[in-house]
Symmetry: C2
Subunit: 154 residues, 2 copies
DNA sequence: AGTGAAACAGGCGATCG
DNA sequence: CGATCGCCTGTTTCACT
């Protein structure tokens, strides 16, 4: 599960470069690391096989595609055993971008986007509270995402 | 701020392809969309200029680089006006990967990673509660990130 | 805005140290 | 593991539409 031992300083340098820009040519990474392009290629392949790298993605600005409201929601369940079924239902709602199984007050904690506040209210009523198994929810609306970034590599 | 009008169905198709895999050759995108490679190149350039595309990144599995604990934290401030100063301090803590200005119970809401639960406790004591301006915090520990994904295009 | 061609650069497998 | 080589493919620009 933890491969941190198997990751040396070259891996770390590679990771810190490619996490900032997924389209960086591997040859450029190679030059920065003072090794050959093939070496970078091999290393990245290995990091993928190890599961250290989960994938790559272009990052979209939600507001620019019409999603102006972002919220976090704590979910209370009627019975803890309903967890799996409720998660399956939540997966069907594409605006939910993150779902966590949590300790403390809530059983489930999610991050959700909506077109606007009214849209969020509608989703809450029509989609979330319609899920049998959910007893109630608490919403925290994000007025501004002050920053968002990746974990530093070392 | 909202460019959703300026985004047509070709843009959407491009976005949905490149958000799933940032390393996909643009020529392959071109073939899927049945246009030339140059057209894809132009479109992506335009989407970047519009700010629709924020960037690209390789996604790392936090557990594989030694971060086994993930938590959300609600932060209470002594005075609301301290917001900017506190955010500046939070920015200095690299394990904080997301920071939101929120309504409701908390003034600030963050997502944070730690090596383990003890490390989280240490960070909470030594780094967060050391920030003057923060009156108290509430922690929600994620036992499992059930899913995490991008907003769908469309 | 999109096309197609051309020049350039990178990806990636094979093979050797 | 990493380096070198080499072919294939993708990237990027430009004149034309």
């Amino acid at each position: 599960m933890d491969n941190s031992q198997q990751i040396d300083s070259l891996d770390k340098k590679i990771l810190s470069l490619i996490t900032k820009n997924a389209r960086i040519p591997f040859l450029e990474v190679a030059r920065e690391c003072k090794v050959s392009g093939a070496a970078i290629h091999q290393r990245i392949q290995r990091l993928m096989n190890l599961g250290v790298i989960k994938g790559s993605e272009f990052v979209i600005n939600p507001a620019k595609i019409g999603y102006h409201t972002c919220a976090f929601m704590g979910v209370f369940l009627k019975k803890a055993s309903l967890f799996d079924k409720v998660v399956e239902m939540l997966k069907e709602i594409p605006q939910i971008v993150e779902c966590h199984y949590t300790t403390g007050q809530y059983a489930i904690f999610i991050k959700i986007y909506a077109k606007n506040n009214e849209d969020l209210k509608r989703m809450l009523h029509d989609r979330l509270q319609a899920i049998t198994g959910i007893s109630s929810t608490e919403t925290i609306i994000s007025l501004e995402e002050t920053f968002k970034r990746q974990l530093p590599i070392d």
